[in-house]
Amino acid sequence: MSQSHGIGGLVFDEKKKARAPEWNVFFALILIVVVFEALGAMLQGQSFLFDSADRFDTIFNEQRLKIIILQVAIIGIIALGSTQVIILGGIDLSPGSVVGVTAMITMSFAQVAEVNGLANPKAVFGPAWMDLPVIVPLLVGLVCGIVAGVINGLLIAYTRIPPFIATLGMMVTARGAAKWWSKGQPISFPTDSYAAIGQGMNPVIIFAVLAILFHLILKYTVYGKHTYAIGSNELASRMSGIQVSRHKVLVYTIASVLAAIAAIVLSSKNLTAQAGMGMMYELDAIAMTVIGGVSLSGGRGSILGTVLGSLIFGVIISGFTFLKLDAYYQEMVKGVIIVGAVVLDQYRQQRAAARM
């Protein structure tokens, strides 16, 4: 379909639309899989993702695929929030600590009264606060996320301190609060209904549902449009009548609520909460986001990119395990990949600027 407009009408051509940058991330994912397949064939004599041994009646090695997705799902949920914050032109260093403190507080409201006929040895509150319906810890968890996010947002939007500093403060404070909550003791023995949330492939389903939800929100709502607009040109957005400060509070709140959801899923999956939970998750989440093509200078990127970025992340970790390489290498390579993704983004920007 083509349509002309303007005097002398140039053609409006759907094909002239620039290729979506998500394709580049997708090709990178394929390339990395191919590299691991090749290395696997050379070093291990077996396939990375395909079911070469024909143990199961499937094309793919389903077990490995499941592990790849499962191990990135929880941090992936956090990355959905990081994506929105970074598109907004900000940064959030607090979600890892928000996971810690939310897991601790939420788990306190999800405990059973009796373990094997004895009183719960890890009880935080008295018996009246035991065996509560699952909705209670869920609401408590969401409130934790909202409180942390609103504080982040208000600090950034109204005191004008850089997001890096504001969320660094939250990172340290929330971690402290997580340790203070039970004097450093782990909190365990959740109710069955709470424990069910994070079992099996549930984290993946929750990640997928949230990813689709926020993909649609970013693409088709005013919220999404304003997030991109502020990240692209904050001053122009302000002059155009967008309520920039209010919107920032909203985005940071959503990011922290996503961290709180990750905390619920993680503590449910592990059946326990510890003050150190979620340590460094924010960096992994930012890494997934950046690998997924979200520009650290704001205004560009997508949820789809971040989901692909999280898969790249998962494939690399799985691939290293598959090749039986030390876990230490994983972290070193992670660091290289993060810096590489940012360098690539800078290079793309320079090239785009040179074309003008």
Binding site: H5, I7, L10, A18, H226, Y228, A236
Partner: protein, 261 residues
Amino acid sequence: MLDYSNSEVVLETRDLTKHYGGVHALEGANFKIHKGEHVAIMGDNGAGKSTFVRQITAVEQRTRGDVILGGQSVHFGSPIEAREAGIETVFQNLALADDLDVPSNLFLGREKIKFNLGPFSILDNKAMREATMAGLVKTGVKIPNILNPIRNMSGGQRQCVAIARTAAFHSKLTIMDEPTAALGVQETAQVENIIRTLKEQGEPLILISHNMRQVFDLMDRIVVFRRGRICANLHVSDTDPQDVVAYITGAKTGEEFPEAR
């Protein structure tokens, strides 16, 4: 030479004044623009041109005086209110978001929505696309694909997008603050063509410009600011560039503005 003094007054300011503490940036500005009229505002840097525009568009709140739009005295609380009342401003630094496409930029801050869900209201992308096309046709702007981010467009095209907002929203008055200051020759011509198109359509316009040729080519009237006061009100046909420079530098002052001396 057309005389607009008998046609309807679109915007009038009476004794419009702005003090920043002890600095009198704008002092007692009495100004009128009529339907269909294109008025240039000229003056040295710091003469009060931009301050004048900022009071009209409510980017700042005035110290004193009246702004009368279409016969009604108005007190806008913000630039958004001014825009909703029909005063469309093309700012000196382009108020555009580079990563968004043309319709998103045209409708920035006033998106069309399908149904209202507060901040999560669903966008009506189709309606915005169609209105964008219509607006571009009206201004004669040519853009290969309006759905590409404007980052990759030329300075002229971007300026045209900024100006096309005016046409898309049927504003009562357009204000342009040095729209061609950062543009090349060809792009300047493009913007000037849009100004001519607006002229043909009878849309009133206030243009802040340092470009003498542009002003004499396109405008009906020149209002000169000096040290925060209006010091001349000249019809283009009654004056020449040297004359205007004399007013700008202070060598001459209009007879009807004794306090500006």
